[in-house]
Symmetry: C2
Subunit: 409 residues, 2 copies
């Protein structure tokens, strides 16, 4: 498989935008026309999942149906229509000796993606990696094994129809964990690993891998309500960041409130959060305005709840808010709500998170919301790709140097 | 030291271009005004090196003198004058909901550089990392321990003079190897590792590190003489790529010659290479035109000689040359000599090396030659930075999102 992936990646790098789009449009169609085979494979996984006693939320994430397949197909068509990221000239310049240097985007090569149970990740990753001219090796969770295999087969048939190698989109056809450990050592064959899943999975991948890994461990997102905040906006942003989808990485986990507005802001915020079914864990000062709140423990700050639970702290000033975020944040997404441009500027300069928001919900930290048209993941690393990561994050570049016989003195 | 580096990196990220330049100009001056102390430290290293029986070339690399110190100082002043790479807006766009998104360059944070004996690497890396707003941890070879420490002290004094933390530029004040193993596990404190040295050092770093590593293992550079080459240019490029400085990573290691020009080109090339003191190891066909050459062994292709030794092979066509490079190259730098634009285009598209040259010597693959004004290293990785790596490679970016109260539907 590694040899096939390598060979396929060399060919994939040379495909025209039109060739790649055709394969993806065929694959999208295939997801719809092969619905019965895919759903049959999915039923196998679901039967096993019930036998293994997976909880309702996990079963729901695993379940495919015709509507979800149509949504997947629409996603693949959307990727097909994105601008091709390969062969773009990022910059071009001429040296005094006449050498013309161009910096041109190229695919990374072979990408390994290790993910947990949702089968739609298979489809998204296959589409994005192929669109960016990479070969991909997909390793999904064992719960979705049959579903993932059926989905990959749709892509492989689309490849074969255009006489392209199935090695462009590979599926690890075993649930044996030794296979992953083996792959993670193959730095000569694989150029990038993207683990998508819980923190334990990601830590294990980083420990084992000799290949570069792009990931985020946690999204410990903060919203800071400044003393010069518009408190109506602050309320809307607080509720949206915490309640709109509490289980995802760009949801707020800690609310910081300037002491000058705590009395005016916190009672209303507390009421809205309570109505939204949110448990509040507040520090001593904040509890004066949130009598219903539990006393926060030290461990509640810097904690990723991924649930309807929020830590709240009152801070004496902007710098304390920034210092708190520097100490407890995970450099994913942090927001300030303020009308004071200087405070906003200080916050965006000093908070070194992948996405820093001013007067907007942390929930916007997302490839689609950023307008990338797709998202392969969110990176809290500072190497290669940071923040929401679309097609551009799946490319590298080469330097093309054109001369007329120049030699070095 | 790690705590100091982290704190210093937060402060360094906020420094203005002028503040950084001042420190570097002071450090440059310090290299000159503290010459006697630095040279005394260097003499300690040299005495030990002689005792340890290091060879003449290694002693030369280790040796400092007033002229070399002045050159180092000039290098630091040149870095000080480069455009500041931090706070640049890489792109900026507006979303339909009114969110304004900017992608702004930021420092990486804390960078660990592990290198072998040349003390000038200490100065270059300190200057480049500081200019890019990073804190750096320098770990040089034990042979240059006293020299490196004296050089770092010059920078630390320049920092203190401007009331900045010495933690911006750190020196690992022990030659114990366990210190390196310890540092390479501290992914929470260090954002990037750059090993500079021999392949064994680099492989060990990659095996041990949990931190992203940027490196090149080898420079197995090829020059391909096409059937439509200008043979005078081909001769000049061949000699330059092989002989101008054979011991460096962008020197040619294998020469590929199209069979149609082998008879006209190889005898002349052979003569020039012989005059340059170069041993030639040729395949069977090439030896017809290079009667003095040794028969190449299979292991001579894809070998990094780093010496006046060259492998030569005659190929039947362009595609064979490309296939040879794909199989035996190290994706560092490869060149074609041709007047045929289609051949040049095919070569630059299909050869996936960090630098692909047309009608120019491989020796131009270098940060200074590319016009970057500096070079921290050359990367054959495809992640983050590829090819000659200047200040830009020492930066990441953040997304700054400015709204007016937007929440997600």
């Amino acid at each position: 498989m590694l040899a096939a992936a390598k060979t396929a990646s060399v060919a994939a790098a040379q495909l025209s935008p039109a060739e790649k789009s055709k394969v993806l449009m065929d694959a999208a169609k295939g997801l719809e026309s092969n619905a019965s085979a895919i759903l049959a494979a999915n039923r196998k996984d679901l039967a096993q999942a019930r036998k293994d006693g997976l909880n309702a939320a996990m079963i729901d994430r695993l379940t495919l149906n015709p509507k979800r397949l149509r949504e997947m197909a629409a996603g693949v068509r959307a990727v097909a229509k994105l601008e091709d990221p390969i062969g773009r000239v990022l910059s071009r310049w001429k040296r005094p000796n006449g050498l013309k240097i161009s910096k041109v985007t190229v695919p990374l090569g072979v990408i390994l993606i290790i993910f947990e149970s949702r089968p739609n990740v298979t489809v998204e990753c296959a589409a994005l990696c192929f669109k960016s001219g990479n070969a991909v090796i997909l390793r999904g969770g064992r719960e979705a094994f049959h579903s993932n295999r059926a989905l990959v087969e749709v892509f492989q048939r689309a490849l074969k129809r255009r006489r392209l190698s199935a090695g462009c989109i590979n599926f690890v056809a075993t649930t044996d964990r030794a296979a992953v450990d083996f792959l993670l050592k193959r730095e000569q064959d694989i150029h990038l690993v993207i683990p998508r899943g819980g923190e334990a999975l990601i830590r294990k991948v980083v420990r084992t891998s000799r290949i570069p890994v792009i990931k985020h461990y946690q999204g410990i997102c903060h919203v800071y309500i400044d003393k010069k905040a518009d408190l109506n906006k602050a309320l809307a942003i607080t509720c949206n960041a915490k309640l709109q989808r509490p289980g995802v990485c760009n949801a707020m986990e800690t609310l910081l409130v300037h002491q000058d507005v705590a009395r005016r802001f916190l009672p209303k915020a507390g009421e809205a959060l309570q109505e939204g079914g949110c448990e509040v864990r507040a520090d001593e000062i904040a509890r004066r305005y949130l009598p219903f709140a539990r006393a926060a423990q030290a461990s509640d700050f810097g904690h990723e709840f991924l649930d309807r639970i929020l830590a709240v702290k009152v801070v004496p000033d902007l710098d304390s808010a920034i210092a708190h975020i520097q100490k407890f944040g995970s450099a994913h997404t942090d927001a300030i709500v303020t009308r004071d441009k200087r405070a906003a500027r200080s916050f965006t300069e000093k908070v070194d998170s992948a996405s820093v928001m001013v007067n907007a919900s942390t929930r916007f930290s997302d490839g689609f919301q950023f307008g990338f048209g797709a998202e392969i993941g969110i990176s809290t690393d500072k190497i290669h790709a940071r923040g929401p990561m679309g097609l551009e994050g799946l490319t590298s570049y080469k330097y093309v140097v054109e001369g007329n016989g120049q030699i070095r003195e």
